[in-house]
Symmetry: D2
Subunit: 358 residues, 4 copies
Amino acid sequence: MSTADLSVGDPRVGDLRVGVVGAGAMGADHVRRISRTITGATVSAVVEPDAGRRATAIELAPGATGYVRLEDALAAGAVDAVLIATPGRFHEPVLLPALDAGLPILCEKPLTQDPESSWRVLEAEQATGKHLIQVGFMRRFDREYALLRDLIAEKSAGELLMLHAAHRNATVPDSYTQDMLITDSVVHEFDVVPWLAGSTIRTVEVRYGRRNRLTPAHLREPILVLMELDNGVLVDVEMNVSVQFGYQVATEAVFEKGIARIGQPSGLQLWQDATFRIGDHADFTTRFREAYDLQVQAWVDAAKQGAIAGPSAWDGFKVAVACQAGVAALKTAGPVALDLPPVPSFYADAAHPAAATV
Amino acid sequence: MSTADLSVGDPRVGDLRVGVVGAGAMGADHVRRISRTITGATVSAVVEPDAGRRATAIELAPGATGYVRLEDALAAGAVDAVLIATPGRFHEPVLLPALDAGLPILCEKPLTQDPESSWRVLEAEQATGKHLIQVGFMRRFDREYALLRDLIAEKSAGELLMLHAAHRNATVPDSYTQDMLITDSVVHEFDVVPWLAGSTIRTVEVRYGRRNRLTPAHLREPILVLMELDNGVLVDVEMNVSVQFGYQVATEAVFEKGIARIGQPSGLQLWQDATFRIGDHADFTTRFREAYDLQVQAWVDAAKQGAIAGPSAWDGFKVAVACQAGVAALKTAGPVALDLPPVPSFYADAAHPAAATV
Amino acid sequence: MSTADLSVGDPRVGDLRVGVVGAGAMGADHVRRISRTITGATVSAVVEPDAGRRATAIELAPGATGYVRLEDALAAGAVDAVLIATPGRFHEPVLLPALDAGLPILCEKPLTQDPESSWRVLEAEQATGKHLIQVGFMRRFDREYALLRDLIAEKSAGELLMLHAAHRNATVPDSYTQDMLITDSVVHEFDVVPWLAGSTIRTVEVRYGRRNRLTPAHLREPILVLMELDNGVLVDVEMNVSVQFGYQVATEAVFEKGIARIGQPSGLQLWQDATFRIGDHADFTTRFREAYDLQVQAWVDAAKQGAIAGPSAWDGFKVAVACQAGVAALKTAGPVALDLPPVPSFYADAAHPAAATV
Amino acid sequence: MSTADLSVGDPRVGDLRVGVVGAGAMGADHVRRISRTITGATVSAVVEPDAGRRATAIELAPGATGYVRLEDALAAGAVDAVLIATPGRFHEPVLLPALDAGLPILCEKPLTQDPESSWRVLEAEQATGKHLIQVGFMRRFDREYALLRDLIAEKSAGELLMLHAAHRNATVPDSYTQDMLITDSVVHEFDVVPWLAGSTIRTVEVRYGRRNRLTPAHLREPILVLMELDNGVLVDVEMNVSVQFGYQVATEAVFEKGIARIGQPSGLQLWQDATFRIGDHADFTTRFREAYDLQVQAWVDAAKQGAIAGPSAWDGFKVAVACQAGVAALKTAGPVALDLPPVPSFYADAAHPAAATV
């Protein structure tokens, strides 16, 4: 089946047959999501070298076949589209054959781990003549982020002047490295900030707060990441991975005529033991549960039309450039400039796709 | 296909073929929901006498066939399950043939419009020997209601003592009658209050607030509905259908050691024009959007196992009895007692089903 | 010094010499307040039969002289005004000589403990030809109550239709009686509700919630008190004296075009241990601290001009009538009508004094 | 009357006779406050060269005498203490004769306009052998700031790691200069941040957000001010003087185990026109009204004991040094170090005075 054959508006005919590559926690969650939560797609293949993980994921998608290598699934004609959920260092070797096969791809963030490999992916995509890659920055599908982007775009509060953001995790495992503050965590801001602000990051700087003694011994955090955008907007992000109390991703936007804030507590309110309380999130699985569902649904719907509905490969490349600058900024005093090449004409119109419809 | 044949855990084999009866606004929304939002089911039949509505609904579910009468769809072997979304006065004539066919049923609230017809439905269901009917009180699938029910059940704040509720609509059409304050609106509280409190309504009383001059001329509201439960809990509900500002459904629970509140504003916060603001809901379609999705998904999943996953026909009967008392209370000073027969043994264990897993 | 001699606008000349009658917790607090917090007054006499209490209070007001009986202080010409903070059953015997002396009076709530004695006080005040008595319902001086009253009066959200109130104490001592639910606690609502709503209470009814097992053995509460006002507004008040968690006095007002709420948590916000928290009040001393200060300041300022600046003796009489009905309602099914005589012409214009300027 | 003569605990004997120097808006407000709001003090002198202002202020304090120069009031023996509310550039010429006279002084912020003149004031104070000067940084007397300081000091949420602050004004007049962003506005943070964090500012840096087109033409703002403290805490302050919507001063504190926030909206809540709303402050006069009252009361109480109860002259000097660095930072890339001399032994113990008791 080719995506071009799909009848528009016929949701039951032509479920998109998705090959999920990587069956760790994130991949297995996507298998469950495609099988049980979203519509219009089935998991037809699970590509995972580890036999145990592969079997576990296939239990969530009984019609699926297991493979060790994506190439085998492609050769079998088993997939209409590919969802990549391997560790980031394995993205390029999966992206390239999937592009070769001309298939729609949803690639978990990051696109790849450095600008050079991301650039190779851009070249491979351009060679296909189609926009096949959507990168899994799911915040664009969160309802509050979408409302904030609308508020910025409609200018009812005037122009955006500053953004203050905070990304707080309760804890991280010992395997989490100092660079991952940038490449695993701030990476989300590198995508969503330009999407919100309608501009590009020009410089990145890192400042250190007092060290949290509860963080793993090899980490120095929290940090404050400063970004200057091309349009003059100044952004600061508190990146904090040991705040103990729970999970919080919040943004405050400063406009010419007002202030907006997203990511604040909501839900059941309780007065007990002399306090008023609202439970907050423990981790991203509840905070962004709906965003993940909406993201994959939007991708499936677009893929069936030969399109993408989210961050492009160019967006992924720009994030890779920002991460490179951010990692350098961890060890540099003052702002580090991003070394961005001109946008290839192939990506020129897609540099700032419209807000996801949620 | 009989529901007994469905393989557990095989979500792709055996999509439940649902016949949606009634294709007005609510029915069409269910067609869209089954076709596009939930998984494991397809709309195979749209039963609707109005040709225009029928055609519009079928466009949302291309594989579906249109019928004028449910009996024709049943005779054609076209449906595994029935979702009833007709006006309430047509529920009984649809419920009875669907029960005759032994099919799982999701019946929009109310079950029927009076205790007598609801009792006939109970008898017909008992004759099948199976619990086939789930009634569409979707609040049980709202996450905050579920959290409140858990808090009541776990008794961490002590026993529940009182409930204060408010159900506020911006406006209602001129076709909305005084009795509908009870049968169309408070009806939700008649189901959800016993479910929350783990007890049965003993009396209903209506008190009148000062009349809102902005309500249709034939209405006298807002009203305050008082309920006494068997376990001594006292409940008051402000029912208000002309509050102009938006839509709000909120409950405050008084415990021995604290207070809980659900249904409060959340989302993007904005400071502008000298005020701090949060947008609130305009109507039930956004307030309970997720609850509707979860409800239908739970019903589909349960129906494939030959079970229900929500309010039973007995729950629906009790609500009919409460509505009868509530309508009487609109014209009566003081509490009106509910005239509830003993629970038939067939329903005895299912009187207070466990909280929906959300 | 006579109040008539006081020069307007000369705050340093002519401090009002106040005799405080009753030096229990409330009286001593007023001595401290007059001496240390408000301006334009001094405590010149402490009238208290208990020698220990008397001495303790005088330490807070070094210039004051101690007396056992008010009459002795009056005979000594020691006071320009009287603040009565004795238990309610001793109010009448203090009010009458103070009125005889023609002095301004701030009388802690209630005016007296029953309508008959309150009527005698009204007669005595009328005999003086002056409005000398202000009753200490301090809620009228709370900023949020004042904002709510302004909102009701200006009608920007339309007419007031309903009020929902809650008065919650953590605990009460064993000496607190069932009647005190009305006479000590709901008594505040009997004053502030007519003041907010610009109308008079017509009936009072009491409904019982499930009993809190943590309340003293002789109490049956929480209760829900329903009031019908002359203008059609319906009021419900949850009166709860064992809610354990803290102290809360809150009101929700239902308007034709919106909803308003006062008495909600504020102050430092804390995220810790998986929750968002705001500390709430432990008791009335912090919740209404500022209101007490503003009340006494307003009384002092008015007394120096020969006026009152708060609830009048007639307001106090009406509350006594409401309390009588409320106590009856504790043991009566259905609404109990208030037996209010016509307002004496002496009080006709002062029945609904303007909002305190805060 | 010398302050040493005042009897402790005798609030009526020995009102502190205050000379208020400067009768502009701030000075007149202090005259009103001392005359009408706080206790234990009277305004005995108003020192103001402008005859109109002087007369207006004296109307608020009828017992006061007007003077053109402080020296004349001192020569007349008319004052026990001095409150300085002139423009900052006139502080030194008032402070020096007041110190010469050995009188307690409450000096509105800043102490003086540069470190050199502040140092001269320190020398003059040391020459008196007494701590006579309290600087008017009133935030230390705000209840929420005090709660936050307590939370930091008690370490129940672990050590403080970062502070995020925002200081937002609706508008400023055309006379407001770029340097005043630092010297008139951020100056408050230069005092309160070290007081909160228990540490000293080491560097100041200024970053620019996108310029607000609604700000006066000669201003470039909002700005983000970054401070590094000696204990490693990193501080960022959004300074914004054209945000149009109202007045907001808020701080978020990042701890090892949680987050705290002060300065959030509170008060009457209103649902109308599809939004939930809370009114916010229009300017500092309501936001810090109580703090001003508590500050002056604490100063009066302390002055009568020969002490201060707030920021010392050394605190004022440190702020002058921080302002000098901050003004330089407006035109400098990267952090500007503060050039702080060692603390004179005279001030060593008072460098971080205990939290004001509020």
